[in-house]
Symmetry: D3
């Protein structure tokens, strides 16, 4: 990250350091988004709290969440999220190809009709939010998504419309490890 | 809000109820975004924590924040945020006209060159995030924004790219009161 | 208006002065578009003659006309017309909210299916005129619009594609009164 | 014209018939726009009054006006205006090639820097009206256009944003004669 | 062509000269694309070999091919191809009007439903290639196009997405003769 | 490839089979584009002849060519070319990260100013070809590109505007091997 300083761990509040250390242990390296966001600890806390809510409190599978993230990030041309969440999708989905498909063009992805409907909503909410209407949500209901799951599909898409913009603003660079993880 | 159920206060966790009551007391009515988000308490907590961080922990004035919010929401064609934050801008900025200018077209707004630069970044990050480059940030530095303030301008814009999409997804409707507040 | 001089009434032809005085009497103030257009009296005459034909010689109600005007002006991001015709819509439609809905995003407006079809044609003709085809007109016929009313829906939309551009060219500023009229 | 009936001359008011006969005598055939607009005589009068003001009361040469018309109509993909005003440009400009250049892409046209600036404003006002700012007008002033001429450049462009939309709405078809006139 | 030098025939390889002479004999003048491409003989050979394959080895009629070319070139705003292939379409289609219709807006062209489907695919592949899906191809099958003809419709469109860009890059100018041929 | 049949080698002309066998030997597998294009042998020959001219007869390095290809394919959202040419760029450029950067957003790529200028032209010619003007080419000259190299930059970009469209039309799928080659 070149546009904002990356703080040293010594200068950070304990809860932020704790989270960074947890993530580092889990991944084997520190994903750069944690260092980038640590520039603003109050934002760090809110951002990851939101992220945690999205992935922990939902009927969506983690694979479905990462599919939405990568499709949205591909539509927004976000290098950091394409690569970091592409890796997560390869791992959670146990699929080495799907992330590259979604980065390019979610319409070319090998997904079920149900997941295609899910991605149609996520990408429409990304590219032409003002055109989203009730019928767009009902298509997901017809594929068996619960009301709450429909909210969550939209919420993941909306959150990554925030994330993609912060990554672009700050010029976040994905760790080299992410480029090949899960291939 | 017609696309997701609005929970009754009795069914909500205490901290969510507390926040809703505080807001109701402050405004004299309950802004609908609080009822809409209460559908998902874990999201409610994260969303408003982020919002609080943006408005409480920053060098930007509250008027500047609301200028960014309305310009971004106007660009995204968001009815809820245009109207609710238009009201906040009239109140915080003590200006009955600026919100209507920003809703229409931020280029027609009567603002200083410094604020024009601020809004140029916020709207570019909204409309063509992938085209934001270092030079876009440096223009703000030339107008005296600190590094942290530049992050915050981008962060407010990014957050309302999330909010605008949630409002559109859920078809949030601004309270009638907001339409005339501060005129 | 800052980009073209506003003539003094003394320098204007009598018919132009007469019209300005009539409008001033009707509104209680002189709507700025009359002063702006007076810069070119031959254009003034033609512009308001067209406008008069649109509002006086038609089956469309005045409320319907102002709905089209505000939806088109919102799509074109026109500050003057959003605000001045937003006020007219509040008055003619006896509705304090509809204008703010149409300014933001006509898809969020509380309107009948018949009016939604009317606005769909008006906004499509605004945003992608080359894609308008016979089927777009027939949808209005199916909602009971006569052939002549369909022409008029298109004509109001087309005329405000002219007006919005003149307002932007000349940087016309709506009178302060319009911002709160009818709220 | 297939979407609205073309009235018979016998059913039209005298002033409308007179104008149609004048035009027919001048051109040697009746340009279809006159028959199309005769469907709504009150609109006919206003439309051609505006047109007359634009071409008769201006410092712009008729060639310059037709250059603007064809560049705008090309940008709006309008078959009727491309062809009918393409013919007028060939005649008034005594240039068999310029119209085909402007229909395709005004940036490829063999025009002076002065006329390039004129067309830049006309096309910007057509394609992204909300982005037109004072600097766009000042570029024309720097090329020697008077204040009034700048208004007129914008007014011609704005008027054909109306005309192009009416032609598309009504599916106006240019007379066969226009396709080869002046080649 | 002003952006790259046009080589003299004496400096060109024999096969390139032969082709240029053949074309000159056929047309009565040397179409400028042959002189422009002669700047890079290896590209010349490949470009015209591809072109020959498209027009000689196909079930599509030459008129159909030129319809696709003009619709694609109109969508891409290509002056050279609009004019040169407009002339070819007038000649092969024995129709003096169709080219001007397709240059403006293929939706206004007087074509059969079968040819409308053909042009819909060609223009969609031009304007939003990533949105082309199986159903777009199947519409052509429903109109009786063979599998191979569907490939060829797409191939002609794709090839002119190359040609239009080379013409724009090199600022190729159509010969004056093309503007009036076949009118 | 699911939209067109893939011919068996036994049914193909000898020169096409020879080329396929060469490529298979070189890569260790048969890149699917060769099988896809074999559906139309006359197109196969022309397509690869053009490709060979672009990579063999040029001052551009192979790394530069693949940079252009991946930036253009990323802009066009082409799954096949992103992945297959991403692999070639990793190999020719000896860089495991650059392809993922260019697929996402060429503005985030770690490239020299010279290469940034090269990619600016290639992507502008892809996304808004009608806006390319002489000044766009002169920027490359200022960075030391010869006239012929400028043509070649444009020609590679133009050719992949053809390729990306054929890949999308035919739904070409990159071989699994390409996804991880050179990482």
């Amino acid at each position: 990250m070149t546009r904002f300083p990356v703080p040293s761990l010594d200068d950070l509040p304990e809860d932020v350091v704790d989270r960074i250390e947890e993530e580092t242990e889990r991944a084997g390296f520190t994903p750069n988004v944690f260092l980038a966001y640590a520039y603003r600890p109050s934002h760090f806390r809110a951002f990851f709290r939101y992220y945690d809510a999205l992935v922990e409190d939902t009927e969506l599978t983690r694979e479905e969440i990462e599919m939405i993230v990568v499709a949205v990030s591909g539509a927004n041309d976000c290098y950091y999220c394409n690569v970091a969440h592409g890796a997560l999708l390869r791992l959670y989905g146990d699929d080495p190809l799907l992330a590259d498909q979604l980065v390019a063009n979610y319409r070319t992805a090998d997904v079920s009709d149900r997941h295609r409907a899910m991605l149609d909503l996520a990408v429409k909410l990304t590219e032409s939010p003002a055109a989203v209407e009730a019928a767009d949500l009902e298509r997901l209901a017809a594929h068996g998504f619960s009301r709450q799951a429909i909210w969550d599909v939209g919420a993941v898409a909306a959150f990554f419309n925030l994330s993609n913009r912060m990554a672009q603003l700050a010029d976040m660079r994905p760790n080299e490890e992410f480029h090949s993880l899960g291939r």
